[in-house]
Subunit: 346 residues, 2 copies
């Protein structure tokens, strides 16, 4: 059997470099990586990613259970989680529950403890007590993207401070002079995005604005954001800014505004939360509060593995890196003429 | 142990309805579904989706191996495939190879034949001979979204007539009077999209246009489509239409055109291929050739299961439903003034 050292010798690199090429290609210069890959192909080397698993009697596989892979946030989380898992020597399998608690339950029964070593659960509708039972009976479960750090759940989790994300959005709009603000609150995978809207409301009040002019709860999608924004502007033409608890809603809102002939941000500013790839790809590019998806996914995988390795010392709640405002082209200062219109419309 | 019949009795429905609620909720009226779910919760019923697997000594799990879950086409395929698998009593696990043949190989070694009953492989860079070896050694493998129906691969597949998709795009643009056409050819997951571009070229020639004015091969993403379209219009200002072999490129192209002050489709028409959800969500909504993702995913799952059940009688190549033109707002008749500019620019 060809060994890693033989590959290294043939490619004239160290064994560590071969390992880097196999696990984390970014670190290695492209010419070097190419030489290593050529040596691997010529020698017919097969990396034994399962060595650790075999030695420890483990399958070396993790599962990520999520509710709706069609929401673009999840694939981005999957990519980052898969890379982090691979770097730690684990495979990652993704189970899409299709927004259905029943399916989530069936997946847990099928996979936890038999096919995989641990499960990352993200925003599924499966009830907490069922997750706890599955975790006790079989493999460790860690909740990713927990939205309420002030209320630790009954299972270990990686929490994101979504209230802070909402607050950053509010402070940004207040700083630009906006007082007449519409709010679109997403209700999707993982339920109502209330941590975000509460954080937004609190920061608004702290800034001297008693409340948003209008609030709407809508399903978390571009189409719903589009429809909701049409309604918002028809009923409240004086709005100078829209805050959406999710980028999808914000992107839909921008398209509705442009379609109605409003300039963004000239007439109306729009801000979201998440920073999905689409946020920088739409025009105008979306100002949003980034929740650090990649870092949060990697942290979730590492925390789950720690939980597997040391079940008694596992983390109870780990806080993900803080959200950060990403200023792009969809927000700007409130215009005077809109200020007048706002009064008329309010 | 609580049985399905007891749930049915308590919810005052037939056992078939309970089964429908568990497997395919769309078929059941919401009030009925709610009653059934209430009965399930009250009785503590746990559907034994593994019964069939246990009886047959099977894990009842399929894997879908794909190259890049961050490309929005794949999540849409996953959702449809997962539903089709579930309806047939199988779980579906997704493995993202992150565009890396090495990882695809490792997944195949890890999962085929041990964790799953069959593998659907879609556009990964894993070499055909390696797939064949994995299929012989362990679980059946079926290739989904095979782009060349004229060249059946060495493994069973579900093929999509992408050349026909390209031809439909060409015929649509020709019918609108366009003669000065730029082409963006995607090179992404699964390699160069040459079946599509060849089909486009052939139909163009059949319509009396010798060739596209300009062709560019670019990586398959919105960002690349944006950049490429900037270059295309700078070097060939007379173009009146752009054909992209993929919706992502087409969406990027529209944004570049709008950013440069060109009206779409007033000045330049844009057409793509695939019909991802984003195609109807952008403004102007994208005219595209739909490749029937949902039907193709379901057909792939059904074909894989047939291959598992009857390995000797399995399908060699199944052709997916034909592509179809979806006319939206990004294409329109060539304008006279563009015709003149085209001559000047060509």
């Amino acid at each position: 059997m060809v060994t890693l050292s033989e590959v290294a010798r043939r490619a004239r690199v160290t064994a560590a470099t071969v390992s880097n090429v196999l696990r984390n290609r970014e670190k290695v210069r492209p010419e070097t990586a190419e030489r290593v890959l050529k040596a691997i192909a010529e020698l017919g080397y097969r990396p034994n990613l399962n060595a650790r698993a075999l030695a420890q009697g483990r399958s070396s596989t993790l599962a990520l259970m999520l509710s709706n892979i069609a929401n673009p946030f999840y694939p981005e989380f999957v990519v980052a989680a898969e890379r982090a898992a691979r770097q730690a020597g684990y495979f990652l399998m993704v189970c899409n529950t299709d927004d259905d608690a029943q399916i989530g339950r069936a997946y847990l029964n099928q996979i936890a403890g038999t096919l995989v070593d641990g499960v990352l659960v993200m925003n599924t509708d499966t009830a907490m007590n069922e997750l706890c039972i599955a975790a006790m009976r079989s493999a460790p479960i860690l909740l990713a993207m927990w939205e309420h750090p002030e209320k630790p759940p009954a299972l270990p989790c990686v929490a994101v401070d979504f209230a802070q994300a909402g607050a950053l959005a509010a402070q940004h709009l207040l700083g630009l002079g906006h007082r007449n603000i519409g709010m679109l609150i997403g209700d999707g995978c993982g339920g109502l995005q209330d941590a975000r809207s509460n954080g937004f409301r609190t920061a608004l009040a702290a800034g001297g604005v008693v409340r948003a002019t209008v609030e709407m709860v809508v399903r978390d999608s571009i189409d719903s954001g589009y429809e909701a924004c049409m309604t918002l502007m028809a009923t409240h033409p004086g709005l100078t800014a829209i805050f959406a608890t999710n980028d999808l809603l914000a992107i839909g809102a921008i398209q509705a505004l442009v379609g109605m002939g409003h300039a963004v941000p000239g007439d109306v500013s729009v801000i979201g939360i998440t920073d999905i790839a689409l946020a920088h790809q739409v025009r105008p590019a979306l100002t949003t509060v980034a929740i650090q998806t990649e870092a949060s996914a990697a942290l979730s995988i590492r925390s789950l593995i720690r939980l597997i390795d040391e079940p008694l010392q596992g983390p109870s709640m780990v806080i993900a890196p803080a959200p950060a405002l990403i200023m792009r082209d969809s927000t700007g200062p409130r215009r005077k003429r809109n200020a007048r219109a706002a009064k008329a419309g309010a």
